[in-house]
Structures are given as structure tokens and as C-alpha cells.
Point group: C2
């Protein structure tokens, strides 16, 4: 022992950094390990984790959920009106879908209100925005989350019955999901804008763009999206905030098919020009593909795999495969990003939209290493993008060999967020996101990076632990 104290001592410090700092300040050698107790020291969460970690039922459920997710084969199948896909819109029911977990009209953030108002006018249920507000306040319109109706929508995520939707089918599982059409950037409904240009564009999309897309799709017999997304990842997209390559690849498949279909040439050309001018066009297709892949993994008992992350502009919600349709919610974190000239964090709405379904599927922020160019849009450096993708490996069940990251020598993207690992490590899922103005009608003011709040995952883990008694783990 006395000899030991004569040796030069090296210290490994775990926990409070100040111990390490003092040793270094005094000229000593120390390595600091950045560690925190699970769930930031929350006892109940710690107990829930102890129940679930290595629990055979959870492991079994997770293996099944991950397998179903990895096996999914999303195919862009058709275009139809939302009312023809969303059962709740049948027979003229006035249902409007929105992003994130459920939220009442009164509690909605500005951009979501703006989008709902615009949708009411678009549907012809009111002739003006003022009248639309009265219609909504009279409870003549139902509101429900997209996710409850096999749908996803970016930002406000507003989908009304007459809007066209992309329908994606997971041919491995037979389940289908949909998303609306992308309107481009600037003043658009999904950011809460609703002036006559916005409504006119929505009408053109329903009457012209959608039939053109449907004609092209039926001509080419559907488009395999897994291969297309894999290619886009090798072309600098993460298919959430950067869809330049994926849009081009989709365009390349649609254009020849569209020309061979029955759409008049000038209409087809207008449709193609609209797509060619909007590098975000693929986003909604990407989201529907992710939803279809993740829905394949939903409703798997005992699984702690996250199958949805979505924001309604107030709260962030997550769903687990093992806890059905229940939403676990917490206040959304602010978005750290790049703002368009004249805007700042003070003008920003909270994190918003179903587009975090891409991160849930291991894309978006999880696949940022594939898209170093995105830092020009969301901020940061190329090395941050790579670090994000590497860090996300710590909180997933596995990796997805279908989606690879060229800068990491084609390492597979992380796949299947494990709520247990999020709570245990405190490493939060990273999310790339657009930023909407907090007020209705303004539109997008920036883009950036944020994280899912820990609280959702703590609640989810606690609920799963309640459903799986500890005894069940005994042999």
C-alpha cells in the first residue's frame, strides 16, 4: 500500500466534474467520465428501469418489434383524397387532422390554429378566416391527431378531407400510412399561413397536381421507397430537413411515367416544374414511409421500442410499441437553429410537427452524418452532424443495414429507439426541425436542431414497468 502511494497517481473521475477540475488545477492527472445517474436521479424511473432492463419479455418484444421495422418494405402506392383513406372522414364528417399528440383548439399554438383555419376555408366550410374561427369554436369541426388515423403531417400537420394524400404501403406487413402533399417553403399552410395564395395553391394541388401524381404512380406501378431513401442517404440527404436528392430521385421516376400517362402535356409540365422547384417535396413521402415502417412495429406487447415521436407545438409526445396508442407527453424543447433574417428565438413557436417520425425511424437527425451539407440549413459543423449519428447508436436497439452512412464507411444508421436506453443514459433523441413563427399566418422563420424531452421517455418506461410485473422476469 505504501508503495502504491509513491507511484504517480492517475485519477478517473465519475460524476461531478468539479472534483476532476480541482485535480487538474493542482497539476494532477485526471480523466473525467461524463456520467449521470439514470433519469437524472429520478428514483421511480430508476426502479422502472431496474424492472425492464434485460427483462426477457421486453427483450423478446423488442426483438420482434425491431425485426418488423427492419423487414418493412414501404412502397409509394397511390394518391387519393384524405377522405378516401382516413376512415374518420367518411360520409362527409368534418374531421381535420393535426400534428402531434391530441390538443384542443383553445390550447393550440399560433401556426397550428392558422393552418386549421386555412383548412376550414379550403374545405368551403367557411368563406373567411373570421368565419372559420366561429365554425371551429362552435364545435362544428372535429380535431384529431394524424397519428390516430394512420397519417402524418409536417409542422402543423393539418390534413382535411379534400386534401390529396400519398399512400405508402408496407408490403411486408400489409399496413398503410399516408401524408399530405408538400407545398414548398415560405408562406404555406403547414407553417400557419392561410392567405388566398396559400388556399389557391392547395386547390391546385388537389385538382391538378394530385391527378398527375396518381397517373404517374399508376403508370409505374408504385415506387420502392426503401431503396430510394438509401440512395438519397448516399447523396447527402437525411430525408427530413434535406430532401434535395430524394426529390430528384422521385422526380426521375415520376417524369417519364407522367409523360406516358393520360395527363395533358401542359398540366404535366406544370406539375413537374412545381416539384423541380421544391427540394422539400419528398419530405411528406419520407414521413409516410417512416410511419408505415414504424406502424409495422406498433402494438407489440412488452416492447420498449419507440414507434412515434410527434409535437403539437405545445407538447412533445412519444408512443411505445408495447403501450398501444397511449401518448407520453412533456413540454417540447426549444429549437437551436439558424433563423431567417429579421427573426430570432423570441419569434419561434415551440417544436412542431409529425416530421420527427423520420428520427423515430433512424433518419433525419439520426442520419445527419449522411448529410453534412445540412449544417448550412440547421446550423453547426460537419463534425457535429457525424457526432449526432454516432451518439444516437447509444439509445437504439440495433442498426438498419438498409440505410447506410457513407462518411462513416457505410455504417448502418441507428434503428429502433429504446426508451429504456434514453432514460438510462440521459442521451436524448436528436431532431432536425423547421421553425415556425409563433403567430398564425406568418410561416417558416428558420430551421435547427432540438432534442426530444426526457420526461416522455420517463413516463413511458414507468408505464411499461407497471404493465410488466417484476415477477414475470423470474424463470
Amino acid at each position: 500500500m505504501s508503495q502504491r502511494f509513491k507511484d504517480s497517481l492517475g485519477i478517473v473521475n465519475v460524476g461531478l466534474r468539479s472534483f476532476h477540475d480541482n485535480v487538474v488545477a493542482a497539476g494532477g492527472r485526471s480523466v473525467h467520465v461524463d456520467w449521470q445517474p439514470p433519469a437524472l436521479g429520478d428514483r421511480a424511473a430508476g426502479w422502472a428501469l431496474a424492472t425492464l432492463v434485460n427483462h426477457p419479455r421486453v427483450e423478446q418484444g423488442n426483438a420482434l418489434a425491431l425485426r418488423r421495422f427492419l423487414d418493412a418494405q414501404p412502397v409509394l402506392r397511390e394518391v387519393c383524397s384524405a377522405r378516401d383513406f382516413v376512415a374518420g372522414m367518411a360520409q362527409g364528417r368534418r374531421l381535420i387532422l393535426h400534428a402531434g399528440p391530441p390538443i384542443a383548439w383553445e390550447a393550440m399554438c399560433g401556426p397550428m390554429r392558422g393552418a386549421v383555419l386555412g383548412a376550414v376555408v379550403f374545405e368551403g366550410w367557411a368563406r373567411s378566416i373570421d368565419e372559420a374561427a366561429r365554425v371551429i369554436e362552435s364545435r362544428a369541426v372535429e380535431l384529431a391527431p394524424c397519428h390516430d388515423h394512420r397519417a402524418v403531417g409536417p409542422m402543423a400537420g393539418v390534413i382535411s378531407p379534400s386534401m390529396p394524400v400519398w399512400v405508402v404501403e408496407n408490403t411486408a406487413g400489409g399496413n398503410r400510412a399516408c401524408s399530405n402533399f408538400n407545398e414548398g417553403l415560405g408562406k404555406v399552410l403547414r407553417f400557419g399561413a392561410h392567405d388566398s395564395n396559400v388556399i389557391d395553391r392547395l386547390r391546385w394541388m388537389a385538382s391538378e397536381l394530385a391527378p398527375a401524381m396518381q397517373a404517374a404512380l399508376s403508370r409505374c406501378g408504385g415506387i420502392e421507397l426503401k431503396g430510394l431513401i438509401a440512395q438519397a442517404l448516399n447523396m447527402g440527404d437525411e430525408v427530413h430537413n434535406r430532401n434535395a436528392a430524394a426529390t430528384s430521385l422521385l422526380f426521375k421516376q415520376l417524369a417519364p411515367a407522367l409523360m406516358q400517362g393520360e395527363i395533358a402535356t401542359h398540366r404535366a409540365a406544370t406539375a413537374l416544374s412545381f416539384i423541380a422547384d421544391n427540394d422539400h417535396f419528398f419530405l411528406n413521402v419520407s414521413m409516410a414511409a417512416c410511419k408505415a415502417m414504424l406502424d409495422a412495429a406498433s402494438e407489440v406487447p412488452d416492447s420498449s421500442m419507440v414507434v412515434a415521436m410527434a409535437r403539437n407545438g405545445v407538447n412533445f409526445g412519444v408512443r411505445l410499441a408495447g403501450t398501444g396508442s397511449h401518448w407520453f407527453e412533456a413540454r417540447a424543447n426549444p429549437v437551436d437553429g439558424l433563423y431567417f433574417p429579421g427573426y430570432s428565438l423570441d419569434d419561434a413557436a415551440a417544436d412542431l410537427g409529425d416530421s420527427s417520425i423520420t428520427e423515430t425511424a433512424g433518419l433525419g437527425g439520426f442520419a445527419m452524418a449522411a448529410a453534412p451539407a445540412i449544417v448550412r440549413f440547421v446550423g453547426g459543423h460537419a463534425r457535429d452532424a457525424i457526432a449526432h449519428s454516432l451518439r444516437m447508436r447509444s439509445i437504439t436497439l440495433g442498426a438498419n443495414p438498409s440505410f447506410t452512412l457513407p462518411t462513416l464507411d457505410f455504417a448502418p444508421v441507428a434503428a429502433g429507439i429504446d426508451a429504456r436506453k434514453v432514460v438510462d443514459s440521459g442521451i436524448l433523441p436528436i431532431i432536425n426541425s423547421g421553425i415556425a413563427h409563433r403567430e398564425s399566418g406568418v410561416g417558416q422563420i428558420g430551421a435547427g436542431v432540438t432534442t426530444a424531452p426526457l420526461g416522455c421517455f420517463v413516463q413511458a418506461v414507468e408505464e411499461l414497468a407497471r404493465r410488466i410485473p417484476f415477477e414475470a422476469a423470474l424463470p
Copy 2:
């Protein structure tokens, strides 16, 4: 002095590595600097370098040449027959262009012979390959380098009068350059294949594809290529061996324009499908753009900037801005790459083609950091791609702010190879390349990475030194 020997010694070893190895083996501390004398110790080259380094006339020439190159604005202007662009093909002259520096028929490698034979049949100057050989041997056909006629062609680089060409105009300098059309991969003329499928495809390209492309281009009034290439670099292309993004971006501009033009819909659709199925389609456009940018910098007296690197399958040739149309040649280096199943280095022709014009312009191998996914095609790891781009900075006059590398936080690509720096450092320009079978008629058998041979640059530097007497440097 005695105190110095008591201190712990650290060694910096320059030159022979064995000194360093011995010190380390004996437990000493040593850092090895990888240094070689200029031009591998060639005295004449060293003297030429001493003349040219910091020579005010060379510096002035280089500043002008680099400025003209960086200021160039290549625009894809039109499509026409080679005979309408290449002056030497006027009035029915039987001229066939080929890649690289000048080479006689007898000395040509297999793939180039195969391509020339195919071109003679395509032109109708012979009815069979055998007859074509007799026609060529009777000297009834002239052969000349593409580069001598404002043209560039990939691999064999064969361009005959009836072939359509892309015409790129540098609007800043007014100069124009052209390249032929890309036929896709597999059995194609540029790899020396010339069976009836190859000839039929060439005929279809001339009669159908070219008019469609011309109609689209005239409709959209030309396509700015600098911005398009810049975008493609941010989408994982290096626009030499990887053109997936650039082809998609070109396609996105051509498709709507084509639909608004006068081409029959089914013909337009066939043309678009051909492009959509060939990720290398943009290569020839990229090459013509690089040629137009570099020609802007040619014929600048005293400049040691490299304005062309090209291979004829036997020799590698370079041209400097300051030495006019003279080719400096050396044996081409072998290509280290990935071979298609069943083939190996033994089957390979030597490095071939004008496509190294992309590297001369700071793209291709120089911009590999933009295209980590290319290692799947040419071999190596993502970190090699980044290292190549970093190393090339050592041998250029400057950098090109128009073309940036996302993985290096949007650092500009190296621009303007300085022959002096190549000779001084021994760092050879890196080149991504396709690999042709050594025999006529087989086609592509792989792709890989190679370097330009030092000998060309040594000769070029010596010639430039002869033209610029040392006295001129004195004030």
C-alpha cells in the same frame, strides 16, 4: 553543450526513414518527416524549379490564369453534330477525335482501336469492322486529339462528325467547348465495344436523343453549370466517376422544358427514361464544363498552371497555360481499383480518357471528400476520400470558392494545379477513373484511383524554365 546531452533528446528525422526506425527501435523519441528532394533528386528539374519558384513572371501569369479559371461561367448552351462544332470536320472531312495526347493508329490501345473502328462503321465509311480496319489502315481517316479541337471525350474519347455533342460556353470568356453524349455503362463505344447494339444506340442518340436535348435546352435557354456542379458536390458527387446527383439535377431542368417543347411525347418519354436510367449521364457535360473553364486559362504566357491532363491509353499528357498546345507525356500509371467479377489488373488497359479534365479543374479525385460514397465504386475508405482532397491542396495555386466540400465544413476545392508544386513536392494529382478491358470490344471492367505520372510535370517545368530566362527575374 554538455548540459544539452544530459537532457532527454527528441529527434526530428528528415529523409531516410531507416534512421528514424533505428532510433525508435532503440527506445528513443523520433518524429519522421516524409520528405524527398524535388523531382526525386533530378538535378535538371531542380534547377528548372529554382528558376521558376517565386519568379515574378510566373507568379503574374499564374495569378491571371487562375483568375480566368475561377471567373469562368460555364453554361450548357446547345446540342449539335460534332461536324457543326469541330472546324476540322467541315466539308465532309473524315476526322475522328480521340482522347489524350496525339497517337497513331498503330500505337493505340485495344479499347481506343475498338472505338475508332465502331465510329467508322457508325459513320457509314465501312459496312463491317473488318472493312473499317482497312479503311483506317489506308489512311482514309484522319485521327486527332479531342483537346486540339475544343473537345473532350471520356475513355477512348472517340467523337466522329455525325455524333451529337453538348456545347458549353464560358460566358465570362466567350470560349466554347464540347463533349459527346454518354452511352451508359456496360458495352459501349467509349470502352471499345462496337457490336450492332452499340452502333444502334449511337444512331438513336443522334436521331432521337440529341434533338430532344436540343429542344429542351433551347426552351430553357441554357443551363448554368457552375451552380449545378456546386449543388452536386453537396449531394455526394465529385462529377467524374459519381454523377448521380448532377444527372438528377440536369434531368430536373430538362424534363419540364422537354415537355413544353415540340418533341412528340413518346419520344420525349423515351429520352427521359434513358437519362433516368444512367447515373453517369452528366459526366460528359461535366467534362465539357471543365474544358470550357480551363480553356479560359490556357495560352497565358509564363504560367505553370496545368490546363489539361489527358490519357490516350498509352501515355499520360499534360498541358500548361504557359506552354501553349505542347503536350508533355509520360507512361500512364496503372489504376488501383475495384474490378467487376471475373476481371483483374491483368485484363486492364492503361489509364485512358480525357475525363481527367475534371481533376484538372479541381473536381473528380480532387473533390473526393464531397463524395464519400464513391469508395464503393473506386475502392478505399471514406477517410481516404477526405485525405485525397486535403493532400491536393498542396499542389494547387489556390482554391475555388464556387465548389465546396461539405464534410470539410464547406472548404473550397483545390484549384489550379501548379506544375512547380507537383515537381517540388512529388505529390501527384489524384485521378478517379473507369477501367477498360485491354482488348477491343469488351468494355468496362472496373473503376479505381490512379495518379498522374511525375515525368509529365518534370518535362513541363523544364520547358517553361527554358522559355523564361533566369535574368528576367532580376529587378
